[in-house]
């Protein structure tokens, strides 16, 4: 009896977490984020960024360009691995390649959007700022340590990085409109969250349905758990229908539209709109609040539909849809399983454990975050619900960020790929630096949360990078002088 009770409680916990995630977090954030990722993969030509990653590009351009490539181009390993190897062997060298590799898993659009909505905008912002600074920092350090090896690559340079491409204006507008859906749907400012009109739909019984839901999936708001509302159920149903129709309509969309394509896109639009309104059930009906969010989302959808029809080639749109669907297919199932297990774990882990280990912004707490991140491997994006669970169990935001920085960067898989390209010694050096820098980001961010002034933290960061840049330039001058000296001696 004891045991079956426990099993039931765990199952309820998992299911509740899953339902809450699907209903509350996913829709206005992940759905558009998948489409943005698809658009970046299908519509933005890689050459627009890679032309800044050639061997002869000055360092102050190639490092930021590598960071941009990590954020924008790399949402899947098909892009990450060849581009990394290319930058390393034929392009700007080890440093920018490492920068690119560091930034790709932590600061891409999917990870950032999801972190922002599920955990908080502050953590998402910290994630992007710190992974950019530290990505560039680690790249420079690696270039500095292994500067001799880089010299030998000079002969290997070829012209793949010379290819040019411009991003057309229509693509800019299109991508901005997609990002706008994300922003309108998730940003919490008055203009967007205010209600401008109210409709009362005469549907009775929704309030009883909602009460039944709360009984079925009990939740404890004080523990950071979330309940499932009637609106949530509508959205989950819509999401399931979208999934089924997308399977039929988008799986082979690169070879042509079919009837299901229209249906699935219609369902996506409907889901986004339902998610953007507020719903409150009461005894005589259902109040629907038309928020600023709704109008914003409608506007952005209008722009997207107009552009897709008028300015783009149907083949480009097919590619975009296909890429977006591919991301969903690749990431979503694992995410669902992950979120379920996080809900189960949530019932087992005692808040005291987390509280005592990482409840404050201490060195030990941040180390615990990093170590957990290095040794655990979770599928893409699952780190976010896990981090959210830790947060609700009382983890300090500093160690939390340390975990979020190290987990996606370092997995066994990525270390293995890395060693085949740059060699085992360099790969483990990289791992060491990532661990150290994750620890630093956690400490710095934790200090900021605890009230240290932003100016001081920025000063630390700038100082750190300045020392690195100086060291690198100095070492390069020295080794160049040594080479020149060697040449004159031999001649």
């Amino acid at each position: 009896m004891e045991l079956s009770n426990l099993a039931l409680r765990l199952f309820q916990g998992g299911l509740g977490n899953l339902a809450a995630y699907l209903a509350a977090h996913v829709l206005l954030c992940l759905v558009p984020a998948f489409f943005v990722a698809g658009g970046l993969a299908a519509l933005v030509p890689k050459e627009a960024v890679t032309r800044f990653l050639g061997r002869n590009t000055p360092r102050y351009i190639s490092y930021p360009a590598a960071a941009a490539a990590g954020s924008l181009l790399a949402v899947c390993s098909c892009t990450i691995v060849p581009l990394f190897a290319g930058i390393y062997k034929k392009g700007a060298g080890l440093g920018p390649a490492i920068t690119f590799l560091f930034i790709a898993p932590a600061a891409n659009i999917l990870a950032l959007a999801y972190t922002g909505v599920a955990i908080g905008g502050d953590i998402a912002l910290a994630r992007i700022v710190l992974s950019w600074t530290f990505g560039i920092g680690i790249g420079m350090i690696m270039a500095l340590i292994f500067r001799r090896d880089d010299v030998t690559h000079d002969e290997d340079t070829n012209d793949v990085f010379a290819m040019q491409a411009k991003v057309p204006a229509r693509t800019w507008v299109f991508m901005l409109a997609l990002v706008a859906i994300l922003v309108f749907g998730t940003l919490k400012v008055g203009l967007l969250t205010n209600t401008y009109a109210r409709l009362t739909l005469p549907i009775a019984g929704v309030d009883r349905f909602q009460a039944a839901l709360y009984r079925l999936l009990p939740f404890d708001a004080s523990k950071g758990e979330e309940g499932v509302s009637a609106q949530g159920v509508v959205m989950i149903v819509l999401l399931a229908l979208t999934g089924i129709s997308a399977w039929l309509g988008l799986d082979k969309v690169d070879q042509g539209f079919n009837r299901w394509t229209g249906l699935s896109l219609g369902l996506v639009v409907l889901t986004l709109l339902v998610a953007a309104v507020g719903m409150v059930p009461h005894a005589d009906g259902l109040d629907v609040f038309l928020t600023g969010k709704l109008f914003g989302v409608m506007l952005a959808l209008g722009v997207i539909a107009y552009l897709a029809k008028r300015s783009f080639d149907p083949f480009e749109i097919q590619q975009w849809l296909w890429e977006s669907w591919r991301f969903v297919k690749q990431i979503f199932p694992l995410l669902v399983v992950g979120v379920f297990f996080v809900g189960v774990l949530r019932q087992i882990i005692r808040p005291e454990w987390i509280e005592s280990l990482a409840g404050h912004n201490t060195l030990l707490g941040n180390m615990a975050g990093v170590v957990f991140g290095v040794f655990m491997y979770f599928p893409t994006l699952v780190e976010v619900p896990i981090a959210n669970m830790f947060l609700s169990l009382g983890m300090h935001r500093g160690p939390l960020l340390a975990y979020l920085m190290s987990d996606p960067e370092l997995s066994l898989q990525s270390i293995l790929i890395l060693s085949t390209i740059i060699g085992r010694f360099k790969a483990w050096t990289y791992v060491g630096w990532v661990a150290l820098f994750s620890l630093l980001s956690g400490l710095l961010y934790g200090a900021w949360v605890d009230g240290t002034s932003l100016l001081l933290i920025i000063l630390y960061l700038v100082g750190l990078l300045g020392v690195l840049a100086f060291g690198l330039t100095w070492a390069e001058r020295r080794s160049r002088r040594a080479i020149v000296a060697g040449q004159t001696r031999t001649s």
């Binding site: 098909c78 892009t79 060849p82 793949v160």
Partner: protein, 80 residues
Amino acid sequence: MQVKILGIGCPKCKRLEELAREAARETGVEATFVKVTDVPSIMAYPILGTPALVINEQVKSAGRIPQKAEIVAWMKELEG
């Protein structure tokens, strides 16, 4: 005709192989298919993104999935 698919085994590479096989069937050319999956061999070609399609050692596309009609055209061109 030798058709090489370069890619580390992501869904895109499988899709490209499917399309290339269909294209070969439509064109009616005799084609042997080779999948290149290890990074050093892939990087021997001047490309920055996978999947890439190489026909008779000429890189025809990289970093994207071409339309089937494009592949058919390439195959016809190299056949004649």
